[in-house]
C-alpha cells in the first residue's frame, strides 16, 4: 500500500476495504458481460495487489474484508456490548461484596488501582492489534471502574457529590473514545457531558444542580450544545459527529416531548397550558427543520431520528385531540390513512436519501 493511500485510522481503513471489495465485484460483473478483458498477467497482478492491501488493512486495523465478516462483526459488536456491560457490573458488584472485609486504606487503594489496571489492559489490547472487540469490552470495564472509584470514594467518606463528577467522567470517557477510536465510550462521554451541561442550566435557573429533571429545558440546552459540537471538524474521526448528533438531538427531542405535556415545569414566564402549546408547536417545527437540515447536509441517521420524533409528536397529538371525541372506528381509520400519507411522504424522503449514499 503506498504511503499516500495509507489510511490513518480504522474508519478510513474500512472505507478502503469496502472500496476494494466493491471494485472487485463490479470488475467481475463487467468481465462476465464482456465489457472488459484483462490479460492473465494483469488479472493476477491486480488480484495480488488487492489481496496485499486487504491483508495489510486487516492486520493493522482489524477491518472486515468480506460481507460475511461484516455480519459476524455485527454479532461480535453485540456480544462485546453485552460483555462490556456484564463485566462492568461484575467489577462493581465484586467491590461491594468484599469492601466491608478490608480496611479503609485498602478500599481506597483498590478503588484507585482498578481503573489504572483496566486502562493498562485496554492500552495493551489496542496496541496488540486485531483485538478490536476485546478493546471495546476492556474500555467499557475501564470506564465502569472509574465510575466505581468516584462512587466508592463518595460512599466511604460521605463526600458531598458535585456536578464536576459528570465532567470528570465525560473527560475520561472521551479520552478512551478518541485515544482508542471507540464509539461506546464516546456515547458514554457525551451522555455524561450532557448531564453536566444540564446541571449548569439548572444552576443558572437558580436551582440545585441535582435537580436537573425539575425542568426539561435543562436538557434542551445540553442537547443543543452537544449537537452544536458535532460541527467541529474531526477529520481523523469521520464517524464521531454521528454520535454527537444522535445524543444531542435525541435528548432535545425527548425534552420537547416532555415539555409539551408538562408545561408547568417550564421556566418560561407562561402558565402551564400556554407553555405546553408553545412546545407542541416548537417540537413539530424543530423535527421538520432537522429533517430538512439533515437532507441538505447528507446525514441519513439524523433524518431517521428526526422523522421518528416527528411521527411520535404527530401521533401523540392526534391521540390527545381525537381519542375522546371520535368513534373508535373513525379514529383508527384516520390513523391508518395518516400512516399511508406518511408512507407516501417517506417514499419521497427515501428517494432523496438514495442520493445521500
Amino acid at each position: 500500500m503506498g504511503a499516500s493511500s495509507a489510511p490513518r485510522n480504522r474508519s478510513e481503513a474500512q472505507r478502503r476495504a469496502d472500496r476494494v471489495r466493491a471494485f472487485r465485484e463490479e470488475l467481475a460483473a463487467a468481465r462476465a458481460d464482456g465489457a472488459l478483458d484483462l490479460s492473465p498477467d494483469q488479472d493476477a497482478a491486480l488480484a495480488g495487489y488487492h489481496e496485499r492491501v486487504l491483508g495489510e488493512l486487516s492486520r493493522a486495523f482489524d477491518v472486515d474484508v468480506s460481507e460475511q465478516q461484516k455480519k459476524v462483526s455485527l454479532g461480535m459488536q453485540v456480544a462485546a456490548l453485552v460483555g462490556g456491560f456484564a463485566l462492568a457490573a461484575s467489577v462493581i458488584l465484586l467491590f461491594f461484596r468484599v469492601w466491608g472485609l478490608i480496611p479503609t486504606a485498602a478500599q481506597v487503594a483498590l478503588l484507585v488501582a482498578a481503573p489504572v489496571a483496566m486502562l493498562g489492559a485496554t492500552d495493551w489490547s489496542a496496541r496488540r492489534g486485531g483485538l478490536r472487540f476485546s478493546t471495546m469490552v476492556l474500555a467499557a470495564v475501564t470506564f465502569a471502574a472509574f465510575v466505581l472509584t468516584l462512587q466508592g470514594l463518595g460512599q466511604v467518606f460521605a463526600i458531598t457529590p458535585t456536578a464536576a463528577l459528570f465532567l470528570a467522567l465525560a473527560l475520561f470517557a472521551l479520552v478512551l473514545a478518541y485515544g482508542y477510536e471507540l464509539e461506546l465510550p464516546l456515547v458514554a462521554g457525551l451522555a455524561c457531558l450532557s448531564i453536566w451541561l444540564a446541571t449548569l442550566a439548572a444552576r443558572w435557573g437558580g436551582g440545585w444542580w441535582m435537580d436537573v429533571t425539575g425542568s426539561f429545558e435543562n436538557f434542551l440546552f445540553s442537547g443543543a450544545v452537544v449537537f452544536a459540537l458535532s460541527f467541529l471538524r474531526q477529520p481523523r474521526f469521520p464517524e464521531f459527529p454521528v454520535a454527537f448528533r444522535l445524543v444531542g438531538l435525541g435528548q432535545a427531542f425527548l425534552a420537547l416531548l416532555v415539555l409539551s405535556y408538562a408545561g408547568e415545569t417550564s421556566r418560561l414566564p407562561l402558565d402551564g397550558d400556554s407553555a405546553e402549546g408553545l412546545y407542541q408547536v416548537v417540537s413539530l417545527l424543530a423535527a421538520a427543520a432537522m429533517i430538512a437540515l439533515a437532507i441538505a447536509r447528507r446525514w441519513p441517521e439524523t433524518v431517521y431520528l428526526s422523522s421518528g420524533a416527528l411521527i411520535v409528536y404527530l401521533v401523540a397529538k392526534y391521540f390527545d385531540w381525537w381519542w375522546d371525541v371520535m368513534p373508535r372506528w373513525l379514529f383508527f381509520l384516520l390513523l391508518g390513512l395518516f400512516a399511508l400519507a406518511l408512507l407516501a411522504l417517506f417514499r419521497r424522503l427515501r428517494a432523496r436519501l438514495a442520493g445521500l449514499r
Binding site: W99, G100, L101, T160, Y178
Partner: protein, 277 residues
C-alpha cells in the same frame, strides 16, 4: 490523539480526580471539626446487612423520619423562605400565584440539626403525661408515637457561618446540607356547604446529605457483638429509660468535618449480646 497519549491522559485524569477527592477528604477531617455529636441508636440506626454488600451503614433518624419528612418545621415560614432565597413577593391568592410558586426550583441550603432541643423536650413531656394517665387508668392506650429520636431540624440558612453563629453549641448542633422547596397549595373543598379555603404558601426541607454513614470496617466486629433485636427503640425519657420499646444498643461518636462531611469516630456498645435490655 495517539494510543500512547490516550494512556497517559487517561492515567492523568484518574490520578488527578482521585487525588483531588482524597485531598478534599483530608481537608475535611483535619483541624477542628465543625461539630462532634454523640448519637444513640434512636438517632442513627444500623441498616440491615445485605447479602451482596459486605459494607455496613447507619442512617440518621431525624424527627422519627429518615430522609423524606412529611411535616414542615414550624419555623419554616414565609420570612424564612424568603431568607432562603425564594421569591415570596406574590400574594398566595393572586391569579398567577400558583405558576409563580410552582416555577421556583428547589435550592440547596444548610440545616441545623439539634440534639435534645426544646421542641423534643416538650413532646417528651406530653408523652410522659399520656403514659402516666394510661398507667393510672384515666386514659386508654395511646397510639404509637410517630417520633423516635430527639434530633430535629432547628433552623436553616444559605450561609453556614451565619447558621453556626446562631447555633454555637458544637456538641448539640450539627450542620448538614439539605434541599428546600417552596409550595403553594389550596386545600380542596370537601362536603356540601363548606366554604373554599384560602391558598397558602409553605416550605419543605429534606434530602439531607449525607443521609447515611458508612461504618469503618475496623468497627464491624463491635456491631456483630450487639444483641439481635427485631424492632428499633421507640421512646425514651430524659434519663434514657425506655418509655416504649427498648433501649439503644450503642452510642456513636460522629464528627462533622470542615466540609460538613461526617464520619463515625467510634461506636460504644451499651449492651452486648446475651444481656437483657
Amino acid at each position: 490523539m495517539t494510543r500512547r497519549a490516550a494512556f497517559w491522559a487517561g492515567l492523568a485524569v484518574i490520578l488527578a480526580v482521585s487525588g483531588g477527592t482524597l485531598l478534599g477528604v483530608l481537608w475535611n477531617r483535619t483541624g477542628t471539626p465543625d461539630a462532634v455529636l454523640e448519637l444513640e441508636e434512636r438517632e442513627l440506626i444500623l441498616l440491615p446487612a445485605e447479602r451482596e454488600n459486605s459494607g455496613r451503614a447507619m442512617a440518621f433518624v431525624i424527627e422519627g423520619e429518615r430522609q423524606w419528612f412529611s411535616a414542615s418545621p414550624p419555623w419554616l415560614d414565609r420570612a424564612k423562605l424568603a431568607a432562603l432565597g425564594f421569591d415570596t413577593s406574590v400574594d398566595a391568592e393572586a391569579d398567577d400565584a400558583e405558576q409563580h410558586y410552582r416555577a421556583q426550583p428547589r435550592r440547596q441550603v444548610f440545616v441545623a440539626l439539634e440534639l435534645g432541643g426544646d421542641a423534643f423536650r416538650k413532646y417528651l413531656a406530653e408523652w410522659e403525661e399520656r403514659l402516666r394517665k394510661e398507667a393510672a387508668g384515666t386514659e386508654g392506650t395511646p397510639p404509637t408515637p410517630e417520633r423516635l429520636a430527639e434530633i430535629e431540624r432547628e433552623d436553616a440558612d444559605r450561609d453556614r457561618e451565619a447558621l453556626r453563629a446562631r447555633h454555637p453549641d458544637r456538641s448539640k448542633v450539627a450542620i448538614l446540607r439539605a434541599v428546600a422547596r417552596i409550595r403553594w397549595d389550596r386545600p380542596e373543598v370537601t362536603g356540601i356547604g363548606k366554604l373554599p379555603q384560602s391558598a397558602r404558601i409553605d416550605g419543605w426541607i429534606g434530602e439531607l446529605h449525607p443521609a447515611t454513614l458508612t461504618v469503618p470496617p475496623r468497627l464491624h466486629a463491635m456491631l456483630e457483638a450487639l444483641p439481635l433485636e427485631e424492632s428499633g427503640p421507640v421512646l425514651f425519657n430524659a434519663e434514657r429509660v425506655a418509655l416504649l420499646g427498648r433501649p439503644s444498643r450503642y452510642r456513636v461518636r460522629v464528627a462533622f468535618g470542615r466540609s460538613l462531611e461526617p464520619w463515625i469516630e467510634s461506636i460504644e456498645p451499651l449492651r452486648n449480646r446475651g444481656q437483657q435490655p
